[in-house]
Amino acid sequence: MTEIMRSVWRALAFLAVQVLLLDSIPPLHRFLTPSIYLLFLLWLPLRVGQLQLLFLSFVYGSVMDMFSHTPGLHASACIWVAFARPGLIQLLMPRQEEDAIRVEPSLLSMGLVPYATYLLLLTLLHHGWVVFLEWLDLGDLVYFFIKVLATTLLSLLMMAVTELAFRRDPADDRR
């Protein structure tokens, strides 16, 4: 399976789970909806260039918006993630080994703590932006932070489950 085909399948799968499952169940405590679709962008191979990443995330976010009937909302958040991702990876994974270029960010390629930080920060960024744009009003700042943090935690839980269910071995890429 080529890298591109694999990415397309992943995108479809993530979108399907997000739209058909997570977005259609009632929000937890009436205001928390986890998102898993973001993981597609976080899993993209490292060698995808910055510009490609930006355009890709715009298209991906727009497709997500098509299903959630909020034009521009997820696209905008995804562009933020794509913009912040390369720098963050530079920061967390300074040693760019020869073959590491090909690998995706993952538990095995980055190590537990850097990978968890990577997931946490980008998810936080994404959710914070989405909630901010959804409300367009910080309103009660405490309430805003509670919502962002709680949604982030819930999403991270979903991501952890996904990571455990679908182990990605960087060795696969080398073959």
Binding site: L54, P71, G72, A75, S76, I79, L136, D137
Partner: protein, 279 residues
């Protein structure tokens, strides 16, 4: 130009990021009803507040014209008051202003030329005189309340004794009920008048409105004089001594009305007959 291109090329990621972000935010605000309404509400708010301030400034320029317009309107309305008429019956034709057979009071607008409040005996100079129908002993009121009495006239001006005058005296009643007294000035504070000789059978409390009595031959009945500020009992005479806050701000008086009692001559002659039976 080259430098700009170079800058763009160097920061191409940032430029693309901003462009895409702008694109998606445009979509967000254009195609979502909630976001669209928030943005347009914000725009309206901003434009509205600017317009409001601008309008507030513009209003100053037309202030004079508006004042004159209001004065005209007030004169017309005051002359329409029912209390200006003493109507023996209703089967009369209407006549031009001031010539109606049963009109009792006529309001004549007058500009205040000079004004004083600091003396013991204060006078107000008005720009309307004998040639314009002013006579001695006519009442002077402002839109806010009773001001005083005309004491001298010249062809185009008249001098009025303000309520803030040691000799001014107005028969007054409480708007809410019976009993009449006299309003005069104690010569101390231009904001406060005194209402005396009001019998203590009348219930008075702070905030009651004091108006002119219908017993007065000068003032149109029911015209406001002031508001009761403090109630003091006069132990010796069984009457009240009330401190009344004047309805008129004498310091900032600009427009006034001279009130002509068109039936004053008739009333005078009748009273004089009573006093002098030989006449």
């Amino acid at each position: 130009m080259n430098i700009i291109l170079l800058l763009i090329r160097r920061n191409v990621t940032l430029v693309i990021f901003l462009a895409l972000q702008a694109l998606s935010l445009t979509m967000l605000f254009r195609f979502n009803r909630y976001h669209k309404s928030i943005v347009s509400a914000l725009y309206n708010e901003m434009a509205g507040s600017v317009n409001l301030r601008y309008d507030g400034i513009l209003r100053y320029f037309s202030l004079r014209a508006q004042n004159e317009e209001l004065l005209r309107q007030n004169t017309r309305l005051l002359n329409e008051l029912r209390s200006n008429f003493d109507r023996p019956d209703t089967a009369r034709l209407t006549a031009p202003l001031g010539k109606e057979p049963d009109r009792r009071f006529l309001f004549l607008p007058a500009k205040v030329i000079s004004n004083q409040v600091s003396a013991r005996k204060n006078y107000i100079l008005l720009h309307r005189g004998a040639a314009q129908g002013v006579a001695v002993n006519m009442a002077v009121v402002s839109p806010a309340g009773v001001v005083g009495t005309v004491v001298q006239t010249s062809p185009n001006m008249c001098l009025a004794m303000s309520l803030l005058h040691a000799q001014s005296k107005v028969v007054a009643v409480l708007k809410k009920g019976s009993g009449f007294g006299e309003v005069f000035w104690d010569g101390l504070d231009p904001r406060f008048l005194t209402l005396a000789k009001l019998p203590q059978t009348v219930r008075v409390s702070r905030g009651d409105t004091v108006v002119t009595s219908s017993y007065s031959d000068k003032y149109p009945p029911g015209y406001i004089i002031g508001v009761v500020d403090k109630v003091m009992n006069d132990q010796g005479t069984n009457t009240y001594n009330l401190r009344v806050q004047s309805a008129v701000e004498f310091q900032s008086l600009q427009h006034a009305f001279v009130v002509a009692n068109l039936q004053a001559i008739e009333m005078d002659s009748l009273t004089r007959k009573l006093q002098d039976p030989n006449d």
